[in-house]
Amino acid sequence: MGKATREAYGDALRDVGAELKDIVVLDADLSKSTKTNVFAKAHPERFFNVGIAEQNLMGTAAGLAAAGKIPFVSTFAMFAAGRAFEQVRNSICYPKLNVKIAATHAGLTVGEDGASHQAIEDISLMRSIPNMTVIVPADAAEARRAVEFAAKYKGPVYLRLGRSSVPDLFDDSYVFEHGKAVQLADGTDLTIIATGIMVAPAKKAAEELAAEGIKARVLNIHTIKPIDKDAVAKAAKETGAIVTCEEHSVIGGLGSAVAEVVVETTPVPMERVGVKDTFGESGKPDELLKKYNLTTADIVKAAKVVLARK
């Protein structure tokens, strides 16, 4: 197992903060969990705890950005995208202010905290706001590069990060290309498109399918908005079937974003692996992924279903 993407975030933020002195970090009493405490330790004069007040977290960041700073704000995805949705929309995205929202503990793998803390709607909420960029790193290396990108990009960014450790997919030589899908395997029978922590099981699913003679292309889509339309349309055209995989509701997230491109360019059969319009519950991350059908086996199964529909 590699590091969790939130761990990579904390380290990357500390390092990019040393380079860019305009970076200011705000947290809402979760700095130990979100890992902004790593930045706080290195740059205490540029770290501010706003307390348990997520609306004010977003509003203060908007003001800092309006005055030329590069604020990174962190809290759990539930509160960043959920509780403070309207502040993100009206105070940050409407005026296109340069605020980076690094939301940790996204998805079911928050685990034991249960449904109240498991954000499975945040991608949907954030990608629907004009001017917003939505990035979901798949591993620590990608998270680090995404942080570096976000720091230099001008405009609002929502960075979705996870609590739990994830396997390393990339090494330090990894180059992050904003809005570009990363092809991890090529194939002609179908394409598996995954994001975040579902990229590793997607890759594994392709390997299992290959053992059965099914050739799957695998795309890692780290930038959900703007989505790589060309890569998705090409996948639909060249492989004729698509399975999407995300640790998020099947409503409004990666699956929806891919479907939008597919129906507008090259309609082909699709299956969406994700949380099926239901709340999560307490449990260990692995138990939850299994119970809510977010495993390698579920992706393999979806691949067979979609192939049957070709």
Partner: protein, 277 residues
């Protein structure tokens, strides 16, 4: 002792406030929608800020050293536009484009559309947080500019206002001066009846703010309060300004219905008569 305004300066500011009020009535009438009551109540505050205090330059609206202003009660956009117009940020004829298609004068202020607008507002409760962020940035950069904000009294019902109040007190943002335009009325009636935010001064004091109470239509009092706020170190200042909703137009004064209603063309002529030079 801070300097005082001369009688001549006060007269000039009062003239400008009358001009701003005339434009508020004209533009809301032309738009046939908008919020005249709470625009008229805040006119003296904005005019005193923009013409006697704030360092802003229409030729360099994005100067990082400028003082900044956040109209937290964004529905009072007409008073901001009319004041910015008076200051030279936009031509007078443009005021009549308020709320119309392709206009820079959006129904609620949009900083991306109109230079001079320092923060996009409109959704109540969010402005003070942004003002605090600007103030924090100034502290970090060692700037001496000041950040001003105007909130509504009904707006104090938004919980986020108190998150921001707590933050400014905690971080000792003495470069923030917030006004509460205490006109006592919100859409559905008197604030004390709809959902009382009273007592207002005590609440701010409890959050660590220096509190000054004034008559929000007394130019001297507004000016003096701003000067006093500048001398207070280690604490943000709130100026609780007792105002009259619809101030300057007797038919509108203290009538909640004029919160968000446009005058007819006939009413407009009548109202402008009251606001004659």
């Amino acid at each position: 002792m801070a300097e005082k305004l001369t009688a001549e300066q006060v007269t000039q500011l009062e003239d400008r406030a009358r001009s701003v009020r005339r434009n508020i009535v004209k533009m809301v009438t032309e738009a046939n929608s908008g919020h005249p009551g709470g625009s008229l109540s805040a006119a003296d505050i904005l005019v005193t800020l923009y013409f006697a205090e704030m360092k802003v330059d229409p030729k360099n609206p994005n100067d990082p050293e400028r003082d900044r202003f956040v109209l937290c009660k964004g529905h009072a956009a007409p008073v901001l536009y009319a004041t910015l117009c008076e200051k030279g940020f936009l031509p007078e004829e443009e005021l009549l484009t308020l709320r119309k298609i392709n206009s820079r004068l959006q129904g609620h202020p949009s900083m991306k559309d109109l230079p001079g607008v320092d923060m996009s507002t409109g959704s109540l409760g969010q402005g003070l947080s942004a003002a605090n962020g600007m103030a924090l940035a100034s502290k970090l950069d060692g700037r001496s500019n000041r950040i001003f904000a105007v909130l509504g009294d009904g707006e104090l019902e938004e919980g986020m206002v108190w998150e921001a109040a707590m933050f400014a007190g905690h971080y000792k943002l003495d470069n923030v001066t917030a006004f509460v335009d205490f006109n006592g009325l919100q859409i559905d009636g008197p604030v004390a009846e709809v959902m009382s935010p009273l007592p207002i001064p005590e609440k701010w004091a409890a959050f660590g703010w220096n509190v000054i109470e004034i008559d929000g239509h007394d130019i001297n009092a507004i000016y003096d309060a701003i000067q006093t706020a500048k001398t207070v170190k280690g604490q943000p200042t709130v100026i609780v300004a007792h105002t009259v909703k619809g101030k300057g137009v007797c038919q509108m004064e203290n009538v909640a219905d004029w919160h968000g209603k446009a005058p007819t063309k006939e009413e407009c002529q009548l109202f402008l008569g009251e606001l004659d030079d």
